[in-house]
Symmetry: C2
Subunit: 199 residues, 2 copies
Protein backbone atom coordinates (compact mmCIF):
# COMPACT_ATOMS: atom_id res chain seq x y z
CA UNK A 1 0.00 0.00 0.00
CA UNK A 2 1.40 3.43 -0.91
CA UNK A 3 2.22 5.92 1.82
CA UNK A 4 -0.44 8.23 0.42
CA UNK A 5 -3.13 5.56 0.73
CA UNK A 6 -1.93 4.63 4.21
CA UNK A 7 -2.17 8.27 5.28
CA UNK A 8 -5.73 8.50 4.00
CA UNK A 9 -6.85 5.23 5.61
CA UNK A 10 -5.25 5.98 8.95
CA UNK A 11 -6.60 9.53 9.00
CA UNK A 12 -10.10 8.28 8.23
CA UNK A 13 -9.96 5.76 11.08
CA UNK A 14 -8.66 8.37 13.51
CA UNK A 15 -11.16 11.04 12.44
CA UNK A 16 -14.04 8.56 12.73
CA UNK A 17 -12.95 7.59 16.19
CA UNK A 18 -12.13 10.98 17.72
CA UNK A 19 -13.40 13.63 15.31
CA UNK A 20 -11.28 15.61 12.90
CA UNK A 21 -11.15 18.50 15.37
CA UNK A 22 -9.29 16.40 17.93
CA UNK A 23 -6.61 15.06 15.57
CA UNK A 24 -3.60 16.97 14.24
CA UNK A 25 -1.40 16.07 11.28
CA UNK A 26 1.33 15.35 13.83
CA UNK A 27 -0.93 12.74 15.46
CA UNK A 28 -1.45 11.10 12.08
CA UNK A 29 2.29 11.02 11.31
CA UNK A 30 2.99 9.57 14.77
CA UNK A 31 0.35 6.87 14.34
CA UNK A 32 1.88 5.89 10.97
CA UNK A 33 5.42 6.13 12.34
CA UNK A 34 6.48 8.44 9.53
CA UNK A 35 8.08 11.87 9.82
CA UNK A 36 5.86 15.00 9.67
CA UNK A 37 7.92 15.98 6.61
CA UNK A 38 7.01 12.76 4.85
CA UNK A 39 3.32 13.38 5.55
CA UNK A 40 3.65 16.97 4.38
CA UNK A 41 5.19 15.72 1.13
CA UNK A 42 1.89 13.97 0.36
CA UNK A 43 -0.62 16.36 1.93
CA UNK A 44 -0.21 19.98 2.94
CA UNK A 45 -1.74 19.40 6.35
CA UNK A 46 -4.94 18.00 7.81
CA UNK A 47 -7.28 20.23 5.81
CA UNK A 48 -6.04 18.72 2.57
CA UNK A 49 -6.58 15.19 3.89
CA UNK A 50 -10.12 16.05 4.97
CA UNK A 51 -10.87 17.68 1.62
CA UNK A 52 -9.63 14.54 -0.13
CA UNK A 53 -11.74 12.21 2.05
CA UNK A 54 -14.76 14.46 1.58
CA UNK A 55 -14.28 14.29 -2.19
CA UNK A 56 -13.97 10.48 -2.02
CA UNK A 57 -17.23 10.26 -0.09
CA UNK A 58 -19.00 12.59 -2.48
CA UNK A 59 -17.80 10.54 -5.45
CA UNK A 60 -18.87 7.26 -3.82
CA UNK A 61 -22.35 8.60 -3.15
CA UNK A 62 -22.54 10.19 -6.59
CA UNK A 63 -21.63 6.84 -8.16
CA UNK A 64 -24.36 5.06 -6.22
CA UNK A 65 -26.93 7.71 -7.13
CA UNK A 66 -25.84 7.61 -10.77
CA UNK A 67 -26.50 3.87 -10.95
CA UNK A 68 -29.96 4.35 -9.51
CA UNK A 69 -32.75 4.43 -12.03
CA UNK A 70 -35.54 5.26 -9.67
CA UNK A 71 -38.20 4.49 -12.23
CA UNK A 72 -37.00 0.97 -12.87
CA UNK A 73 -35.74 -0.12 -9.49
CA UNK A 74 -37.44 -3.04 -7.78
CA UNK A 75 -38.22 -2.96 -4.08
CA UNK A 76 -35.48 -5.44 -3.27
CA UNK A 77 -32.95 -3.50 -5.29
CA UNK A 78 -34.03 -0.39 -3.44
CA UNK A 79 -33.40 -2.08 -0.11
CA UNK A 80 -29.91 -3.19 -1.20
CA UNK A 81 -29.26 0.30 -2.52
CA UNK A 82 -30.34 1.96 0.72
CA UNK A 83 -27.96 -0.25 2.67
CA UNK A 84 -25.08 0.53 0.29
CA UNK A 85 -25.71 4.22 0.78
CA UNK A 86 -25.74 3.90 4.56
CA UNK A 87 -22.55 1.83 4.42
CA UNK A 88 -20.77 4.63 2.56
CA UNK A 89 -22.03 7.24 5.02
CA UNK A 90 -20.91 5.08 7.95
CA UNK A 91 -17.47 4.62 6.39
CA UNK A 92 -16.95 8.40 6.22
CA UNK A 93 -19.03 9.24 9.26
CA UNK A 94 -16.73 11.89 10.71
CA UNK A 95 -17.75 14.17 7.82
CA UNK A 96 -21.34 14.05 8.97
CA UNK A 97 -20.41 14.55 12.61
CA UNK A 98 -18.58 17.66 11.42
CA UNK A 99 -21.81 19.01 9.97
CA UNK A 100 -23.29 18.82 13.40
CA UNK A 101 -20.40 20.69 14.92
CA UNK A 102 -20.78 24.21 16.18
CA UNK A 103 -18.58 26.18 13.87
CA UNK A 104 -20.54 27.09 10.77
CA UNK A 105 -17.25 27.49 8.92
CA UNK A 106 -15.91 24.16 10.20
CA UNK A 107 -13.83 21.98 7.93
CA UNK A 108 -16.62 19.54 7.19
CA UNK A 109 -18.92 22.32 6.07
CA UNK A 110 -16.67 23.87 3.46
CA UNK A 111 -18.03 22.75 0.12
CA UNK A 112 -19.44 19.60 1.68
CA UNK A 113 -22.86 21.12 1.72
CA UNK A 114 -22.93 19.21 -1.57
CA UNK A 115 -22.90 15.95 0.38
CA UNK A 116 -26.00 16.95 2.31
CA UNK A 117 -27.70 18.04 -0.87
CA UNK A 118 -26.95 14.65 -2.45
CA UNK A 119 -28.62 12.90 0.47
CA UNK A 120 -31.62 15.22 0.37
CA UNK A 121 -32.01 14.58 -3.35
CA UNK A 122 -31.97 10.86 -2.63
CA UNK A 123 -34.63 10.91 0.09
CA UNK A 124 -36.85 13.11 -2.05
CA UNK A 125 -36.22 11.10 -5.23
CA UNK A 126 -37.03 7.78 -3.60
CA UNK A 127 -40.34 9.06 -2.27
CA UNK A 128 -41.23 10.32 -5.75
CA UNK A 129 -40.36 6.91 -7.21
CA UNK A 130 -42.58 5.13 -4.68
CA UNK A 131 -45.42 7.54 -5.51
CA UNK A 132 -45.00 7.01 -9.26
CA UNK A 133 -45.41 3.27 -8.70
CA UNK A 134 -48.59 3.87 -6.75
CA UNK A 135 -47.00 2.47 -3.61
CA UNK A 136 -47.06 5.66 -1.61
CA UNK A 137 -49.94 8.02 -1.03
CA UNK A 138 -48.91 11.29 0.48
CA UNK A 139 -49.70 14.94 -0.21
CA UNK A 140 -47.36 17.80 -1.12
CA UNK A 141 -46.47 19.24 2.27
CA UNK A 142 -46.47 15.90 4.03
CA UNK A 143 -44.11 14.53 1.39
CA UNK A 144 -41.50 17.21 1.87
CA UNK A 145 -41.87 16.85 5.63
CA UNK A 146 -41.36 13.09 5.41
CA UNK A 147 -38.36 13.62 3.15
CA UNK A 148 -36.75 16.01 5.63
CA UNK A 149 -37.58 13.69 8.53
CA UNK A 150 -35.84 10.84 6.72
CA UNK A 151 -32.81 13.01 6.15
CA UNK A 152 -32.65 14.14 9.78
CA UNK A 153 -33.28 10.66 11.17
CA UNK A 154 -30.51 9.31 8.94
CA UNK A 155 -28.11 11.90 10.30
CA UNK A 156 -29.12 11.09 13.85
CA UNK A 157 -28.65 7.36 13.24
CA UNK A 158 -25.16 8.10 11.90
CA UNK A 159 -24.03 10.66 14.44
CA UNK A 160 -25.72 9.42 17.55
CA UNK A 161 -26.84 5.81 17.35
CA UNK A 162 -23.92 4.45 15.32
CA UNK A 163 -21.46 6.56 17.26
CA UNK A 164 -22.68 5.46 20.67
CA UNK A 165 -23.17 1.82 19.73
CA UNK A 166 -21.30 -0.54 22.00
CA UNK A 167 -21.01 -3.22 19.34
CA UNK A 168 -19.40 -1.77 16.24
CA UNK A 169 -20.68 -4.42 13.86
CA UNK A 170 -21.00 -2.37 10.71
CA UNK A 171 -23.48 -4.64 8.96
CA UNK A 172 -25.75 -4.73 11.99
CA UNK A 173 -25.69 -0.94 12.31
CA UNK A 174 -26.54 -0.54 8.63
CA UNK A 175 -29.48 -2.98 8.89
CA UNK A 176 -30.74 -1.07 11.90
CA UNK A 177 -30.44 2.28 10.14
CA UNK A 178 -32.20 1.03 7.01
CA UNK A 179 -35.06 -0.43 9.08
CA UNK A 180 -35.34 2.84 10.96
CA UNK A 181 -35.74 4.82 7.75
CA UNK A 182 -38.19 2.35 6.21
CA UNK A 183 -40.30 2.44 9.37
CA UNK A 184 -40.93 6.14 8.75
CA UNK A 185 -42.21 5.47 5.24
CA UNK A 186 -44.19 2.32 6.10
CA UNK A 187 -47.38 3.89 7.49
CA UNK A 188 -47.86 5.77 4.21
CA UNK A 189 -47.49 2.74 1.95
CA UNK A 190 -50.45 1.17 0.20
CA UNK A 191 -48.92 -2.25 0.90
CA UNK A 192 -45.88 -3.70 2.64
CA UNK A 193 -42.71 -3.44 0.61
CA UNK A 194 -41.18 -6.68 -0.65
CA UNK A 195 -37.67 -6.30 0.71
CA UNK A 196 -34.82 -8.82 0.91
CA UNK A 197 -35.58 -12.53 1.39
CA UNK A 198 -34.18 -12.70 4.85
CA UNK A 199 -36.41 -9.88 6.00
CA UNK B 1 -27.64 40.11 38.82
CA UNK B 2 -25.03 38.27 40.91
CA UNK B 3 -21.64 37.47 39.42
CA UNK B 4 -22.41 33.77 39.79
CA UNK B 5 -25.60 34.10 37.75
CA UNK B 6 -23.82 36.24 35.15
CA UNK B 7 -21.12 33.58 34.81
CA UNK B 8 -23.73 30.88 34.25
CA UNK B 9 -25.72 32.89 31.72
CA UNK B 10 -22.70 34.01 29.76
CA UNK B 11 -21.21 30.51 29.74
CA UNK B 12 -24.49 29.05 28.50
CA UNK B 13 -24.66 31.55 25.64
CA UNK B 14 -21.04 30.92 24.66
CA UNK B 15 -21.35 27.12 24.89
CA UNK B 16 -24.53 27.16 22.80
CA UNK B 17 -22.85 29.26 20.17
CA UNK B 18 -19.45 27.57 19.90
CA UNK B 19 -19.66 24.32 21.85
CA UNK B 20 -18.26 23.74 25.31
CA UNK B 21 -15.14 22.15 23.81
CA UNK B 22 -14.17 25.41 22.10
CA UNK B 23 -14.54 27.66 25.15
CA UNK B 24 -12.14 27.91 28.09
CA UNK B 25 -12.81 29.42 31.50
CA UNK B 26 -10.41 32.22 30.49
CA UNK B 27 -12.67 33.00 27.51
CA UNK B 28 -15.64 33.24 29.85
CA UNK B 29 -13.83 35.54 32.28
CA UNK B 30 -12.68 37.74 29.36
CA UNK B 31 -16.21 37.96 27.96
CA UNK B 32 -17.52 39.02 31.38
CA UNK B 33 -14.58 41.38 31.94
CA UNK B 34 -13.80 39.80 35.30
CA UNK B 35 -10.49 38.32 36.48
CA UNK B 36 -9.90 34.56 36.16
CA UNK B 37 -9.47 34.56 39.95
CA UNK B 38 -12.94 36.03 40.41
CA UNK B 39 -14.43 33.35 38.16
CA UNK B 40 -12.47 30.67 40.00
CA UNK B 41 -13.88 31.97 43.30
CA UNK B 42 -17.36 30.99 42.05
CA UNK B 43 -16.60 27.92 39.95
CA UNK B 44 -13.54 25.68 39.97
CA UNK B 45 -13.21 25.80 36.20
CA UNK B 46 -15.33 25.07 33.17
CA UNK B 47 -16.26 21.52 34.17
CA UNK B 48 -18.03 22.80 37.27
CA UNK B 49 -19.99 25.34 35.21
CA UNK B 50 -21.05 22.63 32.77
CA UNK B 51 -22.06 20.30 35.60
CA UNK B 52 -24.17 23.09 37.09
CA UNK B 53 -25.88 23.88 33.77
CA UNK B 54 -26.49 20.20 33.17
CA UNK B 55 -28.10 19.90 36.60
CA UNK B 56 -30.27 22.96 35.86
CA UNK B 57 -31.47 21.39 32.63
CA UNK B 58 -32.17 18.07 34.28
CA UNK B 59 -34.19 19.80 37.01
CA UNK B 60 -36.16 21.85 34.48
CA UNK B 61 -37.07 18.75 32.48
CA UNK B 62 -37.80 16.80 35.67
CA UNK B 63 -40.15 19.56 36.80
CA UNK B 64 -42.01 19.50 33.48
CA UNK B 65 -42.28 15.72 33.56
CA UNK B 66 -43.43 15.80 37.18
CA UNK B 67 -46.32 18.11 36.26
CA UNK B 68 -47.40 15.81 33.50
CA UNK B 69 -50.26 13.51 34.35
CA UNK B 70 -50.27 11.51 31.17
CA UNK B 71 -53.59 9.90 31.95
CA UNK B 72 -55.44 13.16 32.37
CA UNK B 73 -53.74 15.40 29.85
CA UNK B 74 -55.82 16.81 27.00
CA UNK B 75 -54.46 16.93 23.47
CA UNK B 76 -54.02 20.69 23.60
CA UNK B 77 -52.21 20.51 26.91
CA UNK B 78 -50.00 17.84 25.42
CA UNK B 79 -49.10 20.13 22.54
CA UNK B 80 -48.26 22.98 24.92
CA UNK B 81 -46.25 20.58 27.04
CA UNK B 82 -44.28 19.27 24.08
CA UNK B 83 -43.34 22.81 23.12
CA UNK B 84 -42.25 23.62 26.69
CA UNK B 85 -40.02 20.57 26.66
CA UNK B 86 -38.43 21.52 23.35
CA UNK B 87 -37.92 25.08 24.60
CA UNK B 88 -35.95 23.80 27.59
CA UNK B 89 -33.85 21.52 25.37
CA UNK B 90 -33.17 24.40 22.98
CA UNK B 91 -32.15 26.65 25.86
CA UNK B 92 -29.50 24.15 26.98
CA UNK B 93 -28.74 22.77 23.54
CA UNK B 94 -24.97 22.58 23.89
CA UNK B 95 -25.49 19.68 26.32
CA UNK B 96 -27.17 17.69 23.60
CA UNK B 97 -24.55 18.60 21.04
CA UNK B 98 -22.03 17.25 23.54
CA UNK B 99 -23.81 13.91 23.49
CA UNK B 100 -23.15 13.75 19.81
CA UNK B 101 -19.50 14.51 20.25
CA UNK B 102 -16.83 11.92 19.68
CA UNK B 103 -15.36 11.45 23.09
CA UNK B 104 -17.37 8.88 24.97
CA UNK B 105 -16.06 10.32 28.22
CA UNK B 106 -16.82 13.91 27.13
CA UNK B 107 -18.10 16.40 29.65
CA UNK B 108 -21.69 16.27 28.43
CA UNK B 109 -21.79 12.52 28.84
CA UNK B 110 -20.69 12.31 32.45
CA UNK B 111 -23.80 11.61 34.44
CA UNK B 112 -25.95 13.38 31.85
CA UNK B 113 -27.02 10.05 30.48
CA UNK B 114 -29.85 10.81 32.91
CA UNK B 115 -30.99 13.63 30.62
CA UNK B 116 -31.28 11.27 27.67
CA UNK B 117 -33.13 8.75 29.82
CA UNK B 118 -35.61 11.44 30.87
CA UNK B 119 -36.34 12.23 27.24
CA UNK B 120 -36.70 8.56 26.33
CA UNK B 121 -39.13 8.07 29.22
CA UNK B 122 -41.14 11.00 27.90
CA UNK B 123 -41.41 9.76 24.30
CA UNK B 124 -42.34 6.30 25.51
CA UNK B 125 -44.79 7.59 28.14
CA UNK B 126 -46.62 9.85 25.72
CA UNK B 127 -47.13 7.02 23.24
CA UNK B 128 -48.53 4.85 26.04
CA UNK B 129 -50.90 7.66 27.06
CA UNK B 130 -52.15 8.03 23.47
CA UNK B 131 -52.71 4.26 23.30
CA UNK B 132 -54.59 4.22 26.59
CA UNK B 133 -56.97 6.81 25.20
CA UNK B 134 -57.56 4.69 22.12
CA UNK B 135 -56.00 7.37 19.94
CA UNK B 136 -53.02 5.35 18.81
CA UNK B 137 -52.96 1.86 17.39
CA UNK B 138 -49.52 0.38 17.22
CA UNK B 139 -47.98 -2.96 18.12
CA UNK B 140 -45.18 -3.76 20.59
CA UNK B 141 -42.11 -3.61 18.39
CA UNK B 142 -43.41 -0.79 16.22
CA UNK B 143 -44.13 1.24 19.35
CA UNK B 144 -40.62 1.02 20.70
CA UNK B 145 -39.26 1.77 17.23
CA UNK B 146 -41.49 4.84 16.94
CA UNK B 147 -40.43 5.95 20.41
CA UNK B 148 -36.75 5.67 19.53
CA UNK B 149 -37.34 7.42 16.18
CA UNK B 150 -39.00 10.32 18.01
CA UNK B 151 -36.06 10.54 20.38
CA UNK B 152 -33.51 10.50 17.55
CA UNK B 153 -35.46 12.94 15.40
CA UNK B 154 -35.74 15.29 18.37
CA UNK B 155 -31.98 15.18 18.84
CA UNK B 156 -31.42 15.83 15.17
CA UNK B 157 -33.81 18.76 15.18
CA UNK B 158 -31.90 20.20 18.15
CA UNK B 159 -28.36 19.52 16.99
CA UNK B 160 -28.69 19.95 13.28
CA UNK B 161 -31.77 21.86 12.23
CA UNK B 162 -31.87 24.36 15.10
CA UNK B 163 -28.11 24.75 15.02
CA UNK B 164 -27.92 25.44 11.31
CA UNK B 165 -31.00 27.63 11.18
CA UNK B 166 -30.31 31.03 9.69
CA UNK B 167 -33.12 32.68 11.59
CA UNK B 168 -32.72 32.06 15.29
CA UNK B 169 -36.34 32.74 16.21
CA UNK B 170 -36.71 30.40 19.15
CA UNK B 171 -40.48 30.16 19.02
CA UNK B 172 -40.47 29.35 15.33
CA UNK B 173 -37.84 26.65 15.81
CA UNK B 174 -39.84 25.09 18.63
CA UNK B 175 -43.04 25.06 16.53
CA UNK B 176 -41.13 23.42 13.73
CA UNK B 177 -39.64 20.78 16.02
CA UNK B 178 -43.00 19.97 17.63
CA UNK B 179 -44.66 19.62 14.20
CA UNK B 180 -41.83 17.39 13.08
CA UNK B 181 -42.32 15.04 16.03
CA UNK B 182 -46.11 14.99 15.70
CA UNK B 183 -45.80 14.18 12.00
CA UNK B 184 -44.10 10.91 12.94
CA UNK B 185 -46.98 9.91 15.21
CA UNK B 186 -49.78 11.14 12.93
CA UNK B 187 -50.00 8.19 10.51
CA UNK B 188 -50.64 5.86 13.45
CA UNK B 189 -53.47 7.92 14.97
CA UNK B 190 -57.09 6.85 14.75
CA UNK B 191 -58.02 10.50 14.23
CA UNK B 192 -56.31 13.87 13.92
CA UNK B 193 -55.22 15.33 17.24
CA UNK B 194 -56.98 18.48 18.42
CA UNK B 195 -54.02 20.74 19.01
CA UNK B 196 -53.85 24.46 19.69
CA UNK B 197 -56.46 26.79 18.15
CA UNK B 198 -54.03 28.52 15.90
CA UNK B 199 -52.96 25.25 14.40
Amino acid sequence: MSTKTRILETSLAMFNQLGSGNITSLDIAAELEISPGNLYYHFKGKEEIIARLSKECELAIGKLLGRLDMELISEREYWVFLKSLLTVCLHYRFLFMDFQSFEAGGVGQKGSQRLLNQLRRFTDGSLTALMDKGLLEIKGNAKSELSENLFLLGLSWLCFEANQAQVQDEQELVEKGAHRLISLVEPHLSRRLQLADND
